[in-house]
Symmetry: C2
Subunit: 96 residues, 2 copies
């Protein structure tokens, strides 16, 4: 997938497409909460595999049962279709 | 291991004991750099197992090949022997 920066209109519709994610100026972010560390880190492991597959990696942090994920496409300086795709896959994993 | 807050003298000697860690007011932290995301996340996976074993979890973040780990003992409001033990085990993993 060749990434391209999302246009203004696409960004406006983005939060409806990737529920729970906040659309910031140059990145998107979402906080995920679990019951404990094992659940949180298992979630991170699944995401790590997806991100490596896409060769596109998050800026993320974890404290016990909480995971905060930020996605952006550094090379293009903003939010791309690739960020949207990965955010959507992350939501699918979370909702399973 | 029952954690106890490190005394002033112990804190002064701490940086010599856990090389690379910065001793802050209420926590210790270290940045680790790898060649790529797979190496960085593999390192995180090993640490996750250690932390779960001790039931003591870091505040940590990852961006691609970089991992920043912060350790403190929230319940006691500072740096304890448990933080020192885990920092030392993390260093062992990193140096392997």
């Amino acid at each position: 997938m060749k990434p391209y920066l999302l246009e203004h209109e696409e960004l406006k519709e983005l939060s409806a497409k990737i529920g729970g994610w906040r659309i910031m100026t140059n990145h998107i972010e979402r906080e995920f909460n679990f019951s404990n560390f094992v659940e949180a880190f298992s979630f991170m492991t699944k995401i790590a595999l997806i991100c490596e597959k896409h060769n596109h990696h998050p800026n993320w942090e974890n404290v016990y049962s909480k995971v905060i994920i930020k996605l952006s496409t550094h090379d293009l300086g903003g939010i791309t279709n690739l960020d949207q795709t990965i955010a959507s896959e992350i939501n699918d994993i979370f909702e399973k």
